[in-house]
């Protein structure tokens, strides 16, 4: 598969099978993804991994804490909430990414952008290995209890969670707008 084919074939995967994900593979791909980033200050981002059933359960608890305590959550029957919880807890692995907050906006943005670029390379390399992922930054889970649960430090910013697992079937593609329709050319005399 060529690089262009790989980029076009990758999908966000929401349904995983029960095949376990090897932590060593995740670390190896993260290392490779990191090397593909342009040089940024060391320590501009950090990864926390939840792969054991115990860690996954803790993560899902803090992800859903806000929901289950909200007014909406209280309307959801306990059984339904449990099913919801199980769906998340069954996901084999999660990579949580946080970037470092710098002294100014520029450093913040650079660190955040570096983390995002790394995550995209990681998703693509994962796809080459049959791994499906979903980049989750659902606003419902972004609250204090969640940040505390994942160990976010004061000088850090949450970037996203990648839910990871092997999958049976990739969803169909949704058409993209051609770049030509989002394209302008700057002429030197126009400045």
């Amino acid at each position: 598969m060529s690089l262009a084919e790989l980029i076009r074939a990758r999908r966000s995967i929401r349904k995983y099978n029960s095949t376990p994900v090897d932590q060593e593979l995740v670390v190896e791909l993260l290392r490779k993804a990191k090397r593909l980033q342009p040089f940024v200050e060391a320590g501009s981002w950090r990864v926390v991994y939840a792969g054991t059933s115990e860690a996954r359960k803790r993560l899902v608890d803090c992800m859903l804490e806000q929901l289950s305590q909200s007014r909406l959550g209280k309307l959801i029957p306990g059984k339904l909430l449990d099913i919801f919880k199980k769906r998340f807890t069954d996901i084999p692995a999660h990579v949580i990414v946080m970037s470092t907050i710098g002294p100014d906006r520029l450093t913040n943005d650079r660190n955040y952008a570096a983390a995002c670029g790394m995550m995209q390379s990681f998703q693509l390399m994962g796809w080459e290995h049959g791994l499906g992922m979903l980049w989750d930054s659902e606003s419902m889970m972004l609250h204090e209890g969640f940040f505390k649960g994942i160990g976010l430090r004061e000088n850090e910013r949450f970037v996203g969670i990648l839910h990871i697992g092997y999958y049976e079937k990739a969803p169909k593609s949704r058409k993209r707008t051609p770049a030509e329709q989002k394209w302008a050319v700057l002429r030197e005399q126009s400045i």
């Binding site: 262009a4 060391a42 606003s139 051609p178 700057l186 030197e188």
Partner: protein, 161 residues
């Protein structure tokens, strides 16, 4: 070659040759790169291509390069969406960097202080509801690295929950 087998850095060269960059190539690569993940398929990006024939189009703001690509991202009112959209643009840029590397086209991805200053960005056609996600300096290097350069190995910060 598999992406997972790509070794070494894919950074653009420190100096570019005086060789033009084809718009068609950039569009071709972008049409692959737009397959980046983005929330609700908002496709929040837009592109401004600047050919630098006379060598002074971004003087004082950017390093010399045969061409520049401004990657813009729409600024939503909602802060959370704004963050997601910036992240999506970063994924698109990463796709583009990888694809360009394959074509031996050098890309230096830059983010500078002037990009936050509307009085400067509007000169290049950036709208008031947009921001610059990055300016890509494009060109061909004299010795395009194909993964042979040495790079300092830094630690991966990896912890278990």
């Amino acid at each position: 070659m598999k992406l997972s087998d790509l070794e070494g850095d894919i950074d653009g060269p420190s100096e570019f040759l005086n060789r033009p960059v084809s718009q068609d190539l950039i569009l071709e690569l972008l049409n692959h790169a737009v397959w980046a993940p983005n929330d609700e398929l908002r496709e929040p990006w837009r592109f401004i291509f600047a050919d630098n024939k006379n060598g002074d189009i971004m003087q004082g703001l950017q390093e010399q390069a045969p061409a520049y690509l401004l990657v813009l991202v729409k600024e939503e009112a909602d802060q959370h969406k704004r963050e997601e959209d910036f992240a999506a643009a970063c994924c698109l840029i990463q796709n583009f960097r990888l694809l360009a590397h394959e074509q031996s086209l050098g890309v230096r991805c830059t983010l500078h202080e002037w990009m936050y200053d509307p009085s400067r960005t509007e000169m290049f056609g950036v709208l008031s509801n947009e921001r610059i996600a990055a300016v890509l300096e494009l060109g061909y290097g004299a010795n395009q690295s194909k993964g042979k350069t040495e790079f300092p190995e830094t630690d991966l910060h990896f912890e278990l929950l």
